[in-house]
Symmetry: none
Subunit: 221 residues, 4 copies
């Protein structure tokens, strides 16, 4: 059913995508691993390549042999997450979910559960991506439109279907998209970036699902 697991581990996924034929050496893996941790913690700008090298047990030159520039090392971490992996997975998931004759509530719960699991497993990379997108105006302008477009296209389809099924109020798609974007970006950023949570309880998911569906206003009796 909807809970079927998809492999979410980015490090493995990257190997397939970024260097289809090039096997990563142990040292390369270690470099990426350390870079993610440090970038997530202190930000790209505040992390020295020398620090990465030391923590990874590697010579400084080795990093540049593999990634050319520090910027490129960052992109080697971010790009797979954003460009290839995210949509691919989402499509799989959405297709899977929509084939079932599930309600919007079921979809929402499954979708959130799945995305939360995904981010939990790749928490640090998520932090790197979000922090850098937010921090550098130019990076934001390059990447954000792509993400928004990719997300809109997919979500509009979903919204349309559930509107037809009568599960969603008759509000313009645009407004729904915005609100969904608002509440989801808020949820992920609050929990995984600001509060640095490692996982989300099922109760918290229930709360947010309920809230998205019903709000917390009391309609006058």
């Amino acid at each position: 059913m909807v809970n079927k697991m998809v492999n979410n581990n980015l490090l493995d996924e990257m190997a397939k995508i970024l260097k289809k034929s090039n096997k990563q050496t142990v040292k390369q893996k270690k470099i990426i691993e350390v870079a993610i941790t440090l970038f997530a913690e202190k930000g790209y700008s505040n992390t020295a390549t020398s620090e990465i090298a030391k923590m990874a047990g590697v010579a400084e030159g080795t990093i540049f042999k593999h990634y050319g520039t520090k910027e490129n090392l960052l992109l080697s971490i971010m790009v797979p997450f954003i460009k290839d992996f995210f949509p691919t997975m989402a499509d799989e998931l959405i297709g899977e979910l929509m084939n079932d004759k599930c309600t919007f509530e079921e979809f929402l719960r499954a979708f959130l559960t799945n995305r939360i699991a995904f981010i939990s497993e790749n928490r640090e990379i998520f932090q790197v991506v979000i922090k850098e997108i937010i921090y550098k105006e130019e990076l934001k302008n390059e990447i954000l439109p792509y993400i928004l477009e990719a997300a809109s296209v997919r979500l509009v389809k979903v919204i349309e279907i559930f509107k037809q099924r009568g599960d969603i109020k008759d509000i313009p798609n645009d407004s729904i998209l915005k609100m969904l974007g608002t509440v989801m970006s808020g949820f992920f950023i609050s929990n995984f970036i600001l509060l640095n949570k490692k996982s989300i309880s099922e109760d918290a998911i229930e709360d947010i699902v309920f809230f998205i569906l019903n709000g917390f206003g009391q309609s006058p009796q």
Copy 2:
């Protein structure tokens, strides 16, 4: 009524707070102004003091005469926003709003309108504060608890009142706080940081108010 304006301009407010009697020179004002713009655009770490100096038409030494360190220049921008100005204003506003016998919907609309206006007027400082809080783990750990505490204390009072008036569903305060935090942080960050909006239309406010109250799920007839 609830829309009575409170002066929101931070630069003027800072003068009063940070240096009660010390007049800022023209050059100091220009330094702060330029620093805010550059920090907001490229982030603190990616902004050189030499660049600030050049754009402000000032010698680099002048910056350090006044602010001692680059870090302190950042704090001179952030602290007033966070520590003194935010709670003060919020209290005024909440007191004002609660005295009126308004509904939760009216309160929400007024509150959001007021806060949005405030952030719009100090958009760049808001960007600086949020970006730096998100970017540096240590800064986050120092500042975030203060903000959360300050916000919680105030909002719980408000929530209690409207619960008693029957305007808010009977959900644990904690859950409501989280959802409100989620949706508001999402709203402000999406609009003012990610989408870099300069203002918010009244329609958008209506949408978000409606959403918070009712969600967009269609309860089955």
Copy 3:
């Protein structure tokens, strides 16, 4: 007798010498005072004019109004000590001592007592002068020859007289000068610079007088 005190206070003496007609203002006195203390403690190079200004309760500009440059402030402290005051006093003293029909031992004791008293009273200035002469090769080359010449001329006369009186061994003047220079520079630098003593006990003076006269070797019986 030989112990008659000569006024040793440099600050007063400087007023007469450096600015014969210009009275020093209170602020000027304070500047010099603070500068001497700080130069003595941390060295000229490690003392900022801003620090002097702050400790003297004076605006930075005031220092430069009076002394033009930091270098000149240093010279205003050193020059009187070296150029005018030192020889003047020594001559008075030597004249006074030689008129008496005293032994070399008496002369030595009186001379050392007098010079030690003088340096004790102007300890910090002495430290400044010695430290700077030692620290900067160029300053040394300008000042040292003058001091050596001045000292030699006076001491040779004294040595000659006591040789004729049979109080000093028949050793070349040059050798005696060197040994006297060695032992006195060693005595002053050890005590007032390295050990930072504020005064010298009479016993210590007796020891050094005895040593200069007799050494501490035991001639075989």
Copy 4:
């Protein structure tokens, strides 16, 4: 006999001590060499790292790659001289000298000859060490007690032995130590720091040996 030479070259000695297994690169040696020369001539505070770099034919960064800070570069020069090399050598020498049944005069002559040779060979480092110890109060307070203690312990033994042999007058050890310290510090500082001599003639050594043993007072017949 007592004149057997011990290798005095500090640069070689440092290699052994400071980085037992780490080979110094050619550039590192050049940096130390130039630093010693410039520090000796103008003092640490008046020497810019950029100047050292230029004269050493090295990029400025290279200095900091190897020594971390300018302060540490200074210590890399001073510490071996003071902490390891000085006592080690002195012990070898004293042991060697005391085994022989030599007189105090022979010991003194040999000891001075040896120490003078040592300082001549490492003249500039000696200048750096002395200048910095004198110049910075805090450095003085850290280093001087160590030197005094190390010297006292060794010299007291020597003095005791020669007292028993009847070669030294029956004066308190403390007084002898002070006088010896005074005359030796005076001798080394006068000659190697103030007069900047490169070597000491044998006649000068004879003079100082004679003086220490006998003084230059004429005991009345």
